[in-house]
Symmetry: none
Subunit: 242 residues, 2 copies
């Protein structure tokens, strides 16, 4: 919910921020200018959220049916209770939402924030940790941070901590023998070139093993490295082909 | 760092997002339009960050001196390693920053993101958990989320017992220039040996970059590999010493 937003561009940007985090119910309380082409432009692919936005005159109307309204405030104000950090507030919203309660995030005007009266209509107040010398987040940026925290909190409360993203083409990991083959070839090349003194090998090979182990070599990488090494020993030998 | 941003308004909004989270060093890689009044307007109270922004032509220039560059990507790409979530990536940056290493957040163009080549210059890749049906965060919104996570991670790492040990004992990570130096030397050695055809380079160097990025090279390892490479080109040259 955005209370008395001044700039239609911010409304559009807030709609986009919501949609990227999977939220679609935007309520506008007495927006200064809406609808507006600037809102459309800033919404980018979230025009559907804008189109479905509910416009009301007062915050109490907007809050009908809501069990927990978390208001964002950037200043410490004379509040009923101490504000919480955004992350903790999001966790509380997620807990209630999991219990089928209606919850809301409430943001104030770009310049003046939420009025004391508006703050009093909400149940909790959250702050985004920020630079004490300049804590003025853009409205849509604040919406992005809160919606991001709420998305993570909801995922966490579902027990569905998102699995680490996977990458497109994980190569086939090299086998132990393939890596040993590379290491043997590397060692004899290093001896041959004079870099490694077989009488005083020191920790060189151990260090290289450590590096390869950490890298988690793929089959194709072992082949490339072996081809490269062979080419160093026999210049103008076989060329690399893909 | 913003690579090839198209819209000056986004540059200003990104500067504001950074400053609200306490960060001030903005690097712009080949911005389409900069400086520009729209950037000033969107920066709001972060005009100082804009004024101090460094403008360079290429990402490698921007990364000089940087040990860990975390690139934001919204699509699953052919990367060296699986991308991490923004929160985990921020924690890693905070750990390294606590050990006095230079770290960077790298964001791509609004429409096309980071190119494969730009991604290959970075060491880690992060994704923001998002709505799979619409994951397109505005550039400045993504900057806001990452800077917010980084601020929290830095605060957490300062609050915790000395964070250094994780990275202190395994070795000092190599800087961007050190790794580039190795890659340049490797490339010319591969051309000289005939393994790499400069007319048809294919993806060989990209694959090797990918491997090095995944390995997270240490300074001493770079020195060893460079010494080894030099010995292949000039047999019975300098020997490895510990």
């Amino acid at each position: 919910m955005l209370a008395r937003p001044s700039h239609p561009g911010n409304i559009g940007a807030a709609a986009r921020a919501m949609k990227t985090m999977g939220f679609g119910r935007l309520v506008l309380v007495a927006p200064k200018i809406f609808p507006d082409p600037q809102a459309e432009a800033m919404a980018s692919g979230a025009g559907d959220v804008l189109a479905a936005a509910l416009v009301v005159d007062t915050l109490p109307e907007a809050l009908e049916g809501v069990t927990l309204a978390l208001a964002l405030t950037s200043r410490r104000r004379d509040l009923a209770t101490a504000p919480c950090w955004a992350r903790d507030g999001a966790a509380e919203l997620a807990r209630l939402a999991a219990a089928q309660a209606e919850v809301a995030l409430v943001f104030g005007n770009e310049t003046t924030g939420l009025s004391n009266e508006e703050l009093a209509f909400c149940n909790r107040w959250a702050m985004i940790p920020a630079n004490p010398q300049y804590a003025s987040l853009n409205l849509a940026a604040a919406v992005q941070v809160l919606c991001y925290e709420l998305r993570l909190a909801i995922e966490a409360s579902r027990g569905a901590v998102p699995p680490a993203p996977t990458f497109a083409s994980p190569g086939t990991p090299a086998t132990h023998e393939e890596i040993e083959g590379l290491i043997t070839q590397l060692e004899s090349a290093a001896v041959e070139s004079g870099f490694l003194d077989p009488e005083r090998p020191g920790r060189l090979m151990l260090r290289l093993r450590r590096l390869f182990a950490r890298a988690g070599l793929e089959k194709e990488e072992v082949n490339i490295l072996r081809g490269l090494l062979a080419s160093f020993r026999q210049p103008t030998g076989k060329r690399h082909r893909e």
